[in-house]
Homo-oligomer: 134 residues x 2
């Protein structure tokens, strides 16, 4: 069912510093920061030959990644995102297998403009999993 | 400098259960478990179209991932591995940029039979980074 690894998301306390680190120390192709107020994050995309790393800094008072940063002040890996062909079919299969879908279970439009859902980390070995309709 | 994302490593408490979860709930292509006593882990490889997820369970008394599992009993994302063309050149560049290389700074032969180094998570936004000479 799952296809490509779309991205790994890393929450960071200072996105300018993180972008500089990936650009200079790791020598990667790094975008400018983009504020996404509707998602509560500022994002930098690190483009690798086969996938992306997304650096996320909380934006605004109700950022969905603020609690993670409070628990991990240095930052850390936040989630992985797997692509699926049909997000509703994927959701129904996952629910039938006993996985919990976060929120109301209906796909939302994610940061890439595509439908996404998040799966409960306790059902996936402590890893927050996003699925995105590719 | 960094090239492909070689893999994301996820430490799990029960590798048979984790393999079954990735095979059945996520419908992925999952290998049989492989014991790697020289690395202190049992590994399952989840092959995605563009990269790999490596599920790791501690093996033996001195497993390098046991402390992580003790802190995260449900498991969690442990590290990301980026490919580099020349690991010694990469190491020297990273050191010059102020990044700390773990251990004695000399590449070891990793689980894929290739030279690897690990970089201090405090220097990479709370993320343990492995570099592997591809």
């Amino acid at each position: 069912m799952i296809g490509r690894l779309n991205h790994v998301a890393i929450v960071v306390p200072d996105i300018a510093a993180a972008a500089n680190l990936y650009r200079t120390a790791l020598g990667a192709n790094v975008s400018d920061p983009v504020d996404m107020p509707e998602h509560g994050v500022t994002t930098v995309f690190v483009t690798l030959p086969n996938t992306k790393i997304e650096l996320l800094q909380p934006l605004g008072e109700k950022s969905p990644v603020q609690a993670f940063l409070d628990r991990n002040p240095s930052g850390g890996m936040h989630h992985v995102c797997y692509e699926v062909e049909d997000i509703l079919a994927a959701r129904d299969h996952l629910k039938a297998e006993g996985a919990r879908v976060l929120g109301d279970g209906e796909p939302k439009i994610g940061a890439h403009g595509k439908p996404v859902l998040f799966l409960h980390p306790k059902d996936f070995c402590g890893t927050l999993v996003e699925i995105e309709q590719a």
